[in-house]
């Protein structure tokens, strides 16, 4: 940290000033001139929180994608299909059993098993042939998309939310001051807060698992040098199976969560796939921390874009990607 300040004094100053401005925007009561410029503070705060929540969702999907890519060099373009399948499946289970939590767990297990089957029956045989694996995932995504269209049609689905997650909560962030001098606090849907919290918990657990356990150590070693790892006698195939299952399971799991606070329909698979792609390209491929940074950045860009320049919201995320690629082709958080 100190060395960063020493090496880049001007950048450090700019970053400090930006953080100060951000903190002011979040905590202060906005003066009327600012409200004229940027609109109501409530809208700004909701966009900020929604962006971070969406970033949390993107993070969980993209971390599975980036793990699979990092370890197996497999660009899993069927990742979005696993997300959508997880969402539909969770919807069925939640309706059948009436339990949202059970649907989450069951979906994770089933989609993880599906991932295992794919890795065991197909990808295992074309190890080291990245392009061929990617082409297979494209074929799989076409097949899955059509099968899901067959089964669930083109309608919108929403996973039923448990009652304890419904309704808004008040967050101690001031949005405005009434003329009586009374503060107005921000109302925010509880479910989004829970999702955000869940993403943080998953992120922390994943960091711990990767950095503090033996399996995590093997995974990190495999990301760095797969051949050398297998030469040391580790059963990499088993590791691949586990990581693929975990990544796929995460995608399915997120599908249920995404289906609860957004909705499920045809085409959602491609949207999520693109979001994961951009997040992973921006953050740096194969890096979990990179996925977290990229996800929050893309989530924020998406929400702020929707609020402040609605026609170009999606394009804004791609502009970020292009800028990152032009300046740091390896992504924000990756050595080289």
């Amino acid at each position: 940290m100190n060395s960063f300040i020493g090496r880049h004094p001007i950048w450090s100053l700019i970053i400090v000033i930006l953080i100060a401005i951000l903190l002011f925007l979040i905590f202060a009561v906005w003066p009327p001139e600012l409200e004229q410029l940027l609109g109501r503070k409530r809208i700004f705060l909701s966009a900020l929180l929604n962006g971070i929540t969406l970033g949390g969702l993107y993070f969980v999907v993209a971390s599975g994608f980036t793990l699979i890519f990092g370890l197996m060099r497999n660009v899993n373009l069927a990742h979005g299909s696993l997300y959508l399948f997880g969402g539909y499946f969770g919807y069925e289970i939640a309706n059948w059993t009436g339990s949202w939590v059970f649907a989450l767990v069951a979906t994770f297990v089933i989609v993880a098993l599906l991932g295992m089957v794919l890795q065991f029956t197909i990808f295992r045989w074309m190890e080291g042939q990245d392009l061929r694996q990617t082409l297979v995932t494209i074929a799989l995504s076409l097949i899955l998309a059509d099968l899901m269209l067959w089964r669930w049609g083109g309608d919108f689905y929403q996973v039923p939310m448990p009652t304890w997650l419904g309704g808004p909560v008040e967050i101690p962030l001031v949005t405005a001051m009434r003329s009586s001098g009374e503060y107005v606090y921000l109302q925010f849907p509880l479910v989004r807060l829970v999702i955000l919290l869940g993403a943080v918990v998953i992120g922390v657990l994943m960091w711990l698992a990767l950095n503090r356990t033996k399996v995590g150590m093997l995974v990190r070693a495999g990301v760095d040098d797969r051949d050398m790892l297998s030469a040391t006698g580790v059963r990499v195939q088993l590791l691949f199976l586990l990581v693929f299952a975990f990544g796929a399971g995460l995608a399915g799991f997120t599908g249920v969560v995404g289906g609860t606070f957004q909705s499920l329909q045809q085409g959602e698979d491609i949207k999520i796939l693109l979001a994961s792609l951009v997040v992973v390209i921006v953050g740096g491929m194969g890096s979990i921390t990179g996925a977290a940074v990229g996800a929050v950045l893309i989530g924020l860009a998406d929400q702020f874009g929707t609020v402040y320049m609605p026609t170009y919201a999606v394009v804004l995320t791609f502009v970020i990607m292009v800028v990152v690629l032009a300046l740091r082709p390896q992504g924000l958080l990756r050595g080289h």
Partner: protein
């Protein structure tokens, strides 16, 4: 990149020192037969077969050919080629005459079409500049992201691209006293450009530039050590491929008479990849083989599926399964199947030969 590596030592590169123009015309007799067939086709085929099957297949084949050039000779699987074609199509609609009179400028074709091609080539080259900064499998991700950015941009922009509905009634011009709108002239127009694109790709692949590109595909580091500018060669390959795709894009918008975001959406972008891979990335003709099979399936699979008692809507499933089988069992596409079948037929005659 095993798929691409499988193309090494294919006849195209084995003969590659022969890059004179005459070399191109010493083609396989089957190609000559095909050329004669395509030339006399209008004498007995209906307009539907001419335009909707062979015309469309040749246009898609040209776009797939530009992908084949990048992937087969350059080792760069770019998903942006359909988008370059879409970009050219949009520019033709914007500069030319359509029903959207408040956007379309109504310029004559000899201004609008070259300008459209130039803009599309610039777009394709810039995409190349962005994606050659990373290597290998990253290209597919970055170009897919660029392609979908273009899709969403055209979908949301109303001032230039007219949003969801795009442009309708894009008219093929009447030029040199010929009405290119009618079927037979338009068929020959497509045939001319498709054959030209094919010959140019074959020629370029045997030129010093093409050979250097294949060298870079096989070992970029060694080529750099030999003094070749790897990045410049790759970007030039993108520019050349963009030119082919742009010409195809102009024909595409005239063929359909309309262009909208869906023309270059994620689906068509993937379709072009499927066409190129299913045909075979090792030789330029593969792109056209893939395209004709795709168009036939697209046109007749509906009826065929219904005829065997299945739902006609399951067309995507058929494409997906077919593609999966090809990638699993013949990484070199249909050309690879053909080569293997021929090798098996010859094996009994050539004892111990390198069949």
């Amino acid at each position: 990149m095993a798929l691409v590596e499988a193309t090494r030592g294919s006849p195209a590169s084995a003969k590659s020192e022969d890059w004179s123009l005459t070399g191109i015309f010493q083609a396989h007799p089957v190609l000559w037969l095909l050329a004669v067939f395509l030339l006399v086709l209008p004498a007995f085929a209906s307009n539907f077969v001419l335009i909707e099957i062979f015309g469309w297949a040749m246009i898609l084949g040209m776009i797939a050919l530009s992908l084949m050039f990048l992937a087969g000779y350059g080792g760069m699987v770019s998903l942006v080629q359909m988008t370059v074609a879409g970009c050219a199509g949009y520019m033709v609609a914007i500069f030319g005459t359509t029903v959207m009179t408040d956007i379309s400028l109504g310029w004559p074709w000899w201004v609008g079409v070259p300008l459209a091609i130039v803009i599309a080539v610039i777009f394709g080259t810039l995409s190349g500049v962005l994606s050659v900064r990373t290597e290998g499998i990253y290209t597919i991700m970055i170009t897919l992201a660029i392609a979908s950015a273009f899709y969403y941009f055209t979908l949301q922009n109303y001032t230039i691209f007219n949003g969801f509905s795009g442009f309708n009634a894009v008219r093929t011009p009447i030029a040199f006293g010929v009405d290119w709108r009618s079927a037979v002239p338009f068929y020959y127009l497509i045939l001319f450009w498709a054959v030209l694109a094919y010959l140019v790709v074959v020629y370029v692949s045997r030129s010093p530039f093409g050979l250097a590109l294949q060298g870079i595909r096989d070992n970029a580091r060694r080529m750099a050590a030999l003094g070749f500018n790897v990045t410049a060669h790759r970007i030039a390959a993108y520019a050349f491929a963009a030119l082919i795709a742009a010409v195809a894009g102009v024909l595409l918008v005239w063929h359909g008479g309309q262009i909208s975001p869906g023309t270059a959406g994620v689906g068509p972008v993937i379709d072009i990849l499927i066409i190129a891979v299913a045909g075979g990335l090792s030789r330029p003709i593969g792109a056209f083989i893939g395209a004709i099979i795709y168009v036939m399936l697209r046109t007749f699979a509906l009826d065929a599926l219904v005829a065997v008692g299945l739902d006609g809507k399951r067309f995507q499933l058929l494409i997906g399964l077919g593609f999966l089988l090809i990638v699993l069992f013949s990484p070199d596409g249909i050309l690879g199947l053909w080569a293997r079948w021929r090798a098996r037929m010859q094996r009994p005659n050539t004892h111990g030969g390198r069949a």
